[in-house]
Amino acid sequence: MEKTSEAQFEVLWPLARKAKRAESTATAVGDLSGKTVAELWDYIFRGEIIYPAIRERLRERYPGIKFVDYTHFGNIHGPRQRDIVAGLAARLRELKVDAVISGIGA
């Protein structure tokens, strides 16, 4: 059978509109000296080694840098994830955090 004799179908787009979203206001910190860096961890995938190692290296490089380590926030991917995330912006403001390192995505 030739293709021209086959039925033709006009098909609709099967996806859906993306919702409007807020523009990101995140900016780079620049010099980290004297700044406060928070750690957010999902308590898995070797963060207990990775975060202290990063802390050590950043301290060597930036005098006066401060850390709010992951224990201040709890497991960001655990049973209390929704509560933690909902309160995160306020908590970061309260702790005067300049930058956040989150992980471990693996």
Binding site: P14, I44, G105
Partner: protein
């Protein structure tokens, strides 16, 4: 600034795009769970630190998360033969790899006849791509999956169920590769010819198969959970989608048990869907004898063992849903002396593994010790998990008896049951009453004339 394993970089970029935030990403080469401490420290120095310094100190633009222009819903995006339509959809990752029914305007309109809701009505904005889960999108994907128009009320309820926050739709692409399981309740099981008997959970009945396929297709197209060459689904080793499960409600009532739908809080006679994740299916569990105890002990010995590996993940969240599908003839024996609650409690009390083995399972997955003390202190598990300091003391695998769902279904002529286990909090059980249009009976009669039934 986010630290991401190599194999997850595509997913991280995909999520960033979905929520519109240009995250800085630091790539951890390889898989941290198979690296020793010295390797991890070396990778921090060589790979993570340069990216972290760059990400924290240099400005980033939003161009990396800008969206391309897309068609409006309802737009005709292609015209061609059946083969050409398949190729068009395959190329754009709009199908699940199997042939789809072409979603023409006429077919979609036929589905929309079976709901009183407007096509543009939004049930929710779904992760990962931030798309609007509309009634129209349900109809389009229902057509593609091979559903019949009269399934539309069921499909809408399915999407409403997974839209509930407790379901955690944002975790549907995780590495354990769980699949959603739909459980159907109510008279609509018979009206739409869902199978609840022999051959349960097998492809072969249009209603069960196409409803299950619809949900997987919806997760691909509206959420963006696509395996490679797509980006959103990071399942490692998965399995096929589940066809919908329907209960033999007549049998459940005849033996004096409530239906699963009633257990989920629906009134007798209500139509409802319940959806939860499944990450493990037990072996077919044969049990025999005229006494209830022998059957439920077999559930403990077979299903309990199959579930035990992943039990620690439920303990860490304080809940963990499973579904036990009990063969009708077995349910009849059990129901003579045990209620559904009795069965749940027996499983909860008797299904155990040594504490040290549970701790090893936890360590193998994520690298951290399972801290029973901490979980007790935080209220996730009861104090008896530390009843002694014997590392081989038995600890329960089911967190709460009430988390165990019981469905009576399957082959009444055989003594077989089977268990389905959720992926801890991901895809937790949610339920939704099915809303039928006011002229349902009339519409159904037109769609399914008596000679066709």
């Amino acid at each position: 600034m986010s630290i991401i394993g190599s194999a997850f970089m595509k997913q991280a970029a995909f999520v960033a795009k979905g929520i519109g935030i240009p995250f800085a990403l630091a790539e951890y080469p390889g898989a941290p769970m198979v690296d020793g401490e010295a390797d991890i420290r070396a990778k921090v120095d060589r790979h993570l630190m340069p990216a972290i310094l760059d990400g924290l100190t240099k400005p980033r633009t939003a161009s990396s998360v800008a969206s391309e222009a897309e068609p409006e819903p309802g737009t005709v995006v292609f015209r061609g033969t059946l083969d050409e339509v398949q190729e068009h959809f395959l190329t754009r990752l709009w199908s699940d790899g199997l042939p789809v029914i072409p979603p023409t305007a006429e077919r979609v309109a036929a589905f929309l006849e079976f709901t009183e809701r407007k096509p543009e009505e939004i049930i929710g904005v779904f992760p990962l791509e931030g798309r609007e889960a509309t009634i129209h999108s349900i109809a389009v994907n229902g057509v593609m999956a091979g559903c019949r128009p009269e399934y539309m009320p069921v499909l809408v309820a399915i999407v409403q169920a997974i839209a509930k926050p407790g379901f955690r739709l944002e975790d549907a692409g995780s590495t354990p590769s769980w699949e959603p399981l739909i459980v159907l309740s109510g008279p609509i099981i018979k009206q739409l010819d869902f199978n609840h008997g022999a051959g349960l959970m097998k492809i072969g009945r249009q209603a069960n198969g196409s409803a299950g396929r619809f949900l997987r297709l919806y997760l691909r197209n509206i959420c963006g959970y696509r395996i490679a060459p797509g980006d959103g689904d990071k399942g490692s080793i998965g399995y096929s989608f589940n066809v919908a499960l329907a209960e033999d409600e007549d049998w459940a009532r005849d033996i004096g048990w409530t239906s699963f739908g009633e257990d989920m809080g629906h009134a007798p006679g209500d139509n409802a869907v319940t959806v939860q994740s499944v990450v493990c299916i037990t072996p077919p569990t044969y049990s025999s004898g005229a006494e209830a105890r022998g059957h439920v002990q077999q559930f403990v010995d077979v299903m309990g063992r199959a579930f035990s590996y992943w039990a620690y993940s439920g303990l860490k969240r304080g809940y963990w849903h499973s579904v036990i599908v009990i063969g009708p003839s077995i349910a009849k024996v059990i129901a003579k002396t045990m209620s559904k609650d009795d069965v749940r409690r027996y499983l909860w009390e008797q299904a155990t593994i040594p504490a040290s083995l549970m701790q090893n399972f936890a360590r193998q997955t994520g690298g951290l010790e399972l801290d029973f003390r901490k979980l007790i202190d935080e209220g996730y598990i009861s104090p008896d998990y530390l009843a002694s300091d014997d590392p081989n003391r038995p600890v329960r695998i089911f967190v709460n008896p009430g988390d165990i769902g019981i469905v009576v279904a399957g082959d009444p002529g055989r003594n077989q049951s089977r268990g389905y286990m959720a992926n801890h909090e991901q895809g937790a059980r949610t339920t939704q009453r099915i809303a039928l249009p006011r002229n349902w009976d009339e519409l159904l009669a037109q769609a399914r004339p008596p000679h066709a039934q």
